[in-house]
Amino acid sequence: MANHIVKVSPLDGLAKPAGSNVSLEERRFLGKVTLRGNPENKDFLSKVKDVLGVDLPLTPLTYVAGGAYTVHWVGPDEWMIHTQEDGEHALVLALREALEGIHSQVVDVSDYYVVMRLSGPAAREVLAKGSPLDFHPRAFRAGMVSGTRYANATIQISQLDDQPSYDVQVRWSFAEYLWNYFVEAAREFG
């Protein structure tokens, strides 16, 4: 039975931007784990580091990419960890085990969210259409992440490089809407 398991994504079958200035790809089934805990608790920080191999980013609006994990600052006591598909299971277990007895929260949200990668010379223009965040390189650069809004959707966006490429994370049930919005927004840029 197991080999017939069909996975679906809300982005299945959706059209991509037609032109060459904006590219849009789904980062299918990326593992995602929400971690919450007290950043002032050194024990918490070190236990987490033991599992992740990198320090939790404590500077707002930054993320750190380690080997298996990319850890995004979400709020003063909240992080979003991305890992490869199905990597979330082991991660959740490892974190829960490591944090036993420390007040914290580890939640698998791999399917709560969908991540899409938006890139290309006109990517910024596309983002500017729906988000009030300042994406100018002076304000938002590779290495940064932020929660913001795109039209009606709440998104988390991180910039990966200067191409520019972005990972945009959105709730499953808003993903189709956001994707289609991006495609339509990209149309005029060819």
């Binding site: 707002p60 979400v74 003063p76 909240e78 929660g147 913001t148 809004r149 709440t154």
Partner: protein
């Protein structure tokens, strides 16, 4: 269209936030000891001032944190944000009069 400073994420467009009304309304510790008037006052009555107002905002589309803002309800000038539990920033007479932001 306000520009609100989230104590964590920095200045952001108003549309990333929601305002939840007057700040520092403390839930009574022993509700049963209150008269209907005192309880009603806590639940419904607000100072609603024309002037400086301390109010709660939440950064819904960002870090999802609640915090407080001091804003003048007539000029809509924001005089600062602070985290829950922190004291409100002082607003000098001069800043109020100058009214420039």
């Amino acid at each position: 269209m306000l520009l609100i400073e989230c104590p964590w994420c920095g200045e952001r467009d108003q549309t990333e936030f929601t305002c939840h009304g007057e700040a520092h309304i403390v839930r009574p510790k022993n509700p049963d000891e209150l008269t209907d008037e005192q309880w009603g006052d806590y639940v419904f009555f607000r100072s609603n001032p024309k002037g400086l107002h301390k109010e709660r905002w939440v950064h819904d589309h960002g870090c999802r944190r609640w915090f407080n803002v001091v804003r003048h309800t007539h000029t809509d000038i924001v005089y600062g944000s602070y985290k829950p539990g922190e004291p409100a920033p002082e607003v000098s007479e001069e800043a109020l009069k100058g009214g420039k932001k």
